[in-house]
Subunit: 139 residues, 6 copies
């Protein structure tokens, strides 16, 4: 098994709150993450693909095209945005790191296959102390 | 000269916009940083103090008390907050990294002197690529 | 599969020596790590849990409670301690990174399950060049 | 499962070009990586081995001997070298990160087994944004 | 004094050799850095400017335009290039980190002034262990 | 002004305690750093020298010889040692980061001058959150 990973970054605002709950319950469960005026993060995204080496290029995948896909499908949609308000693919979802990682997988899986590889994992760092890794619905 | 530095971190939302300007002018000057729904960052703060070694302790300053001052005066005020809306000492100011670094200096200078040292610099990293360092009004 | 990781840190002293061996044999096998007066490290701990997203919170696990468990069961026990002398759960064991990672797994596995997730791995960095990762007795 | 990782570093020049192709085709496929006068990188190598803890030492493997093997078989051969011109085990191969990771696996697998462990993975960082991980021909 | 720093990166090949010396003398002085077939690095560049805060923007300098200047004058000229062969502003010079830092200063000083600030320093990291910082001819 | 910095690392045990004080007073002032059985750190040392570029080499200083001096005078003396018990140049001194940085300056200043440069600063990181920088008795 051979994996290749590309790192991208985006800076976004969000808050954690469950609309079905009261403000008190949200504060109890989410603490300062529920601040009504938002807070934000420098997110680090690591997208890992799996494949075979093309003997003519030595590559699993065209890394430049992979980066372009990630820019178009993820970074341009999320960077300098509000995850709760501005992002079509997060509408109606919790803006947690877990949900965001799964959602990013869904946005890019088909594109990675079109580039001739398989999506292996989406890793998303919210802070230097907290990160999530998703391996897809079949892993 | 002997300097000691303490790193603290806070995650906040902000936007850059000049209220005296139109939305178009703000977009032209601040680009995606002017997104009306905010974005955010993991800020890294490095506070550097200058002093003499106390021969009984080997310390310039009581680092635990310095960290407590930084928690109380800076981190609790800024962490998981909106820099434009939630922070008393930033009211009416631009929420740029430059202004934020100068404002943090003003919030803590007196406290550092009370701990027996001098404030030397406030360094603030907004991203891994951009940071500001302020050395006080007399430097 | 969805994983969430929390980083914690602790600074500790230790030495590597096998009590059944002579000083010479210890020096031969462990080199400078056998220094009788100890040395130490800034350890970085990455605890990874596995679970399903709770649709109400968007979380696999309550990260605040996970961090509290790690503080209570690991960091308070190891931080600013001597791994060979001060740590009940290491008594009679070699203070190697491998043994420490396995021992930390044993201290926290039950607590992670009580928080509603599964312990996936314990990664322990001793230096920037050396680290260990343990996936449990059944992996 | 218990894994131990050792990081090593080397700085090398290379270029990406397929000798069977024209200069135009190489430029089209490899972009600036095809610059005929070479470019280079600070490579970071993470070699991960798998094994059982030796109860007398607390170790999976003698880390000092593992590092010596990596120095002899990898770092001395690659550091301050041209990957396309100076490296016997890369002769006739593309100098991509993928091919380099697989080739390093082949150079060290037998030596790791002689040290009493199994080779689990070879991870190679070309830049802070791009890296490859190889798990062997049977993974 | 208020400073703002922008980080940029470039990957380049080079070698250290003095043309007036024999191969033996070059090997003696420069060691493996004199390898005739080149080696290379991931260089990290930190450009620091000094200025006053513009009260309308909160900025010392337009960071987007600073980054564009650094891309045009430095990164496009050095990235994926051979420092000894491909770079007009290094012709006839030693390709050491010291000389490179001074040369970068000379390439960008005027442009920084045109952006309304002063160039304070150019810091250049060759590896994680070695870096150079230049403060200009008048410092 | 042109500065060159070399990073070295060492791992050591220490404790903070003032022998003239009671155990209670030591615990009060130094907290967990006073643990009688020691704790330890991965120290990072950054030694910065100042000089002119030698036009024949492009160097301020012979970096290989600087690293050898730092290995001999600092790393071999401190690495895998107990700062309170094992280090001749710290005998009778507090093992604080401040005192250690000043003491390292004194150990290497003459050697740096013999290599043809001036010692500019000694920076010592005790953790990722705390570090000290010393600029010499005349700064």
């Amino acid at each position: 098994m051979l994996l290749l990973t590309r790192r991208e970054r985006f800076n976004a605002a969000h808050k954690l709150y469950q609309e079905e709950w009261s403000a008190e319950k949200n504060a109890e469960v989410f603490g300062k993450c529920a601040n009504k005026n938002w807070h934000g993060h420098n997110y680090e995204l690591f997208v890992t693909v799996k494949g075979e080496i093309n003997p003519l290029t030595g590559f699993i995948i065209d890394l430049k095209r992979l980066s372009e896909v990630l820019q178009e499908k993820v970074v341009e949609v999320l960077d300098h945005k509000n995850l709760n308000l501005d992002v079509p693919f997060l509408k109606g979802k919790m803006a947690s790191t877990e949900v965001l990682a799964v959602s990013i997988w869904n946005e890019i899986e088909k594109e990675v296959i079109e580039l001739g590889a398989f999506l292996h994992s989406v890793k998303l760092n919210e802070t230097e102390n907290n990160f999530v890794e998703y391996f897809g619905p079949n892993a």
